[in-house]
Amino acid sequence: MTSATPWPAGRAAVLRTAVGVGVATGAYGLSFGAISVASGLSLLQTCLLSLLLFSGGSQFALVSILGGGGSAISAAATAVLLGSRNAFYGVRLSTTLGVRGWRRAAAAQVTIDESTAVSTAQTTPAAARYGFWATGISVFVLWNLGTLIGAVGAGALKNPTVYGLDAAAPAAFVALIAPRMRGAEPWTVALIAAGVALASVPFVPIGVPVLFAAVVAIGFGVARPAAPTDAAGPPDPSGPSDSGGSADPGGSEADPEQDPDRGGTP
């Protein structure tokens, strides 16, 4: 990130955005920490998920499937399927970042909705690189801090169901999914997928119905490929994490109907 370009003012603005997104995501991390511990994971397991997996939607899905009695396989598989969009972010970012070796591994770890959104919203390559790293690091630090605080806090509660904490994960998913529900197709896919999943609940092991939902999505995607112009869109930072509302990396209007983000947060 050696940028000799005269953009100190622009750089400060990008940094403000990065920190703002990080703070909003940190607040979201609080609820993840609490929900994870309420689902039966230990403090260590909860914190390692945020450090190693580092993808909000995937983390929420993983802990709630485990909490509901699902198998490790279905929990991990659902998390990985939800994280597949990060691969598409990497495709967009690899040319901009131009990193190799350990730097590429570090960049991969912080390739998430937020860092991609801020990076792709910039107009120069230097700003795009700076935006990616600043947002990635800011979100990584604050998401993990939020997770730790939320997990410690929830650990102090005796019986989370009394506080309605078991309703937190579905509510979080509603907030996550809302920006994606534009047009008829998302609703069609959502209703069929959810219907198939719910109908299969009594007949298959816990956790498996969600994988049936994935099969529905794959079937639709293969039958009706994206239009040629439909590049894998940048995430919409106003997703779940932006819930704080304070951070608006702007420019995120591109591809409003594409994979806006969030299956996960970070």
Partner: protein, 100 residues
């Protein structure tokens, strides 16, 4: 068992992120692959919402969580911040349990 999920999920998600930066672009540029990637979160999250709200174990049930989900949907329609959506759903669910 929880550890297996934590480690496998973490490894799988990292591999996907790393692959995106390393795999030949034409594979991920495939329009079917793109469409599937766009639809997967929608299908998975909707299924998770309904399963976590309307099932206990392998049984379909309607209980206080349904009220929490309804409140969450209203909060999202009102464009409430993320934490408000989650907190409102928790409070609603707890209150319904208290009163029933």
């Amino acid at each position: 068992m929880i550890w297996a999920a934590v480690l496998a999920g973490s490894l799988g998600c990292f591999v996907l992120k790393y692959a995106g930066m390393s795999v030949p672009k034409r594979i991920l540029a495939d329009r079917r692959v793109q469409k599937v990637a766009a639809l997967l979160p929608i299908a998975l999250l909707t299924a998770l919402i309904l399963i976590q709200t309307f099932t206990t174990g392998k049984h379909l049930v309607v209980d206080a969580r349904a009220g929490g989900l309804a409140v969450a949907c209203v909060a999202v329609l009102l464009r409430a911040p993320f934490l408000v959506v989650v907190a409102a759903a928790c409070v609603a669910t707890a209150l319904i349990r208290l009163w029933t």
